[in-house]
Point group: C2
Chain length 426, copies 2
């Protein structure tokens, strides 16, 4: 649900001459004007390091995941915290997404301000100012919102706040696992939350059940957990506890969305049901944890097998070689400020020497062995053809912690031409 | 050197209603208007998580380091990449700093646009657009700039670019160590760079010598490295290679600035000399690596011993407890998006229950055991008085990677009142 008519008081976001990773600007400009600048990555028009998105791959991934969800009859609420880029939210919604998933009240406001009209806050909503931020949005009847509950104190705090505003708020009961993250561990905790919900007299309204299976690692354990969620929802439906039709059953990070789709798509709860999947990283994919997860999916999932293509890495960070002080060591002007490093270092993917014709693949033995705030150590072999001023492209692992390092991400075509720019709101 | 008269075409930076970690705003406002809003941390006026700076501690640290450098007759060029906050650059310069150190061309432009008129780029300057960004600033005769050189290719690239502009650029010869980061490893590499500099015919002008000792861990090795820098500078001075008076001798990250000050302050090179120290993290300090480093300095450095006080942690991240799903586990709405996690997790420091009088210290056994993008796992003990909705303050380790998670950092007084706001330009 994207409301194009409602800028909601948001001021236009400018690309500013002082922003990192862009080309020359005399003055701030709107994103729509960037393509006309004629910036090209390979002409060194951009200040490196820069993080670029591949337009064709973004479009491919966008369509791929929407089709996958649709094959299961599931709804997609892509996790927007990955990119925090309203222009990408808009494309996800236009491609058919049911809503956008977010992690905080601030993220919810960013989405709303850019026209998103259905948000699943995959978190507990806590704190006076955070609740007030949501309450302001709930004054708009076209805005649908859900957050999670897993504790009595929290239900009471929601009831006190929204009740005082004369508002109601929709929630999903979050199930969790022992040693996991949030979520009720057992039936007793769940029952206590349900009792607390009943006491709110309609202020806090139960719309369904939610899980985040991504804290688990074993498929059998994950399937059992998902089946528990289905059983819980069935019981809630039978006992008349659900205050939204269709009911909502939601799960899935970016690693197990196939298993969640399989388990949830076959759920029968005796009332209308929306199964909502929440992957976020698919849009840019990566060459780390999510490539590994996707390899499993391509091998084991019948729908993924039938689809002619796969998710593609769509986000790269480019940086210059700034020093080759030893025969087997290059220092690259790429740091922890520029790319995620918590799930594996960036992987060198291509080399381009300014003035050359096109980028080339890099030797397999090149690897980043360490990163500092603004530098990376690149292991090479003596005699490799690498010199100061060469541009290197790095594939990344963990898109979320790469996006949040950039306020502007140029979108390039396959010839390196900047055709658009994506702004983030972290 | 701070030029207050020159906004250099920079548009005013607004605090935007959609920014993370701030209070309620109906419309964008300038930072100068924030104090009048009356936001108070303890009244839950801010959306948590938020990163706050202590006004009194910032002022204390600012004065402490300036005095320390002055006692050695050294100049201070604080590393601005830590905060990337021009308002803090301005305070550092007003306190007596000689210039600001930065890591990239983009950072240099941010500083210049906010009035900084002397920048030491503690990096090699590489790439067409990056050089062009600096060339534009060099058109201002009131702007003094230095970058580092450690390779022949790089000197030639600088000469070709700036020569074509009819400009010259000042550089410092960077010395490095085997297995270290950038910098010439030995005399042969240094000589090759000097020969290349001579061939630029005054386009690339040698102003002195630079080291970054922070990649070394052993004090004796560091002292030997610093002495090598002094000897190198002496030889350059004697051979008439230096093209700036005073010459510049620069070193020091935030962990060994005392040793650098000791070794460099006694250098005699036969011509006027400016010793330039470049710590960055002192401004907010931390409770991790820099607290450990500072403990050594307080014990061993005679000037630090004489000073009546020490650096104080001035940056904290506040977040809500969002779930207490197990007796020994709380989940906090604080993630890798909000605080550095690469040099130790944030450390719980204080607890405040909304409606209470003042924050209290937390039990020593509370500790973060893991972080995800938007969540932290807090280990507690069964029966501890902690509940959903409690606010927790976390001290941090590694200020650089905490600052870069925030576009706005409220500055608070000792009563939690927001008295100012600091904007970052990452």
């Amino acid at each position: 649900m994207l409301d194009r008519k409602s800028p909601s008081g948001v001021t236009p976001s400018f690309v500013h001459p002082l922003d990192k990773g862009i080309g020359a600007l005399d003055a701030p400009c709107v994103p729509e004007d960037v393509a006309a600048r004629g910036w090209n990555l390979y002409d060194e028009d951009l200040s490196l390091p820069t993080a670029v998105l591949s337009q064709s791959r973004l479009e491919h991934n966008l369509a791929w995941m929407q089709r996958f969800a649709s094959e299961y009859g599931a709804r997609l609420a892509p996790h927007g915290k990955t990119t925090m880029a309203p222009r990408l939210f808009a494309r996800q919604l236009e491609a058919g997404a049911w809503g956008i998933t977010l992690a905080t009240a601030q993220q919810t406001r960013v989405a709303y301000a850019h026209g998103v009209r259905r948000v699943l806050l995959a978190n507990q909503l806590v704190g006076r100012r955070n609740m007030a931020m949501v309450a302001e949005l709930l004054a708009d009847p076209s805005f649908e919102f859900f957050c999670l509950v897993d504790g009595v104190d929290q239900v009471r705090q929601l009831a006190a706040f929204f009740g005082a505003f004369g508002q109601s708020v929709q929630v999903l009961l979050e199930l969790g696992t022992q040693g996991g993250r949030t979520g009720v561990r057992d039936d007793a905790q769940a029952q206590a939350v349900l009792d607390a919900l009943a006491q709110t007299q309609g202020v806090v309204r139960l719309a369904g059940v939610e899980v985040y299976e991504g804290v688990l690692k074993d498929e059998a354990v994950i399937r059992a957990f998902l089946q528990r969620a289905v059983r819980t929802l069935q019981a809630l439906a039978q006992s008349g506890r659900l205050q939204r039709t269709p009911a909502v059953l939601s799960g899935a990070g970016s690693a197990w969305y196939d298993v969640v789709a399989e388990e949830f798509a076959k759920a029968e709860i005796g009332m209308l049901l929306e199964v909502v999947l929440r992957p976020g990283c698919y849009l840019t994919h990566d060459v780390g944890a999510y490539r590994a997860a996707q390899a499993r999916i391509r091998t084991s999932n019948p729908i993924a097998q039938r689809m002619q293509s796969n998710l593609l890495p769509a986000l790269q960070v480019w940086a210059y070689v700034q020093s080759v002080p030893e025969p087997e060591l290059a220092i690259v002007a790429l740091g922890k400020r520029d790319a995620a490093f918590d799930a594996g270092f960036p992987t060198p993917a291509a080399q381009f020497r300014p003035g050359g014709v096109s980028p080339s693949a890099v030797p397999e033995h090149w690897a980043i062995t360490g990163m500092m705030d603004q530098h990376a150590y690149l292991k090479i072999a003596a005699g490799d053809d690498l010199r100061v001023g060469d541009m290197l492209a790095f594939d990344i692992s963990h898109p979320c912690l790469t996006f949040d390092k950039w306020r502007q991400l140029p979108v390039i075509d396959d010839a390196g031409q900047v055709v658009d720019i994506v702004q983030t709101y972290f």
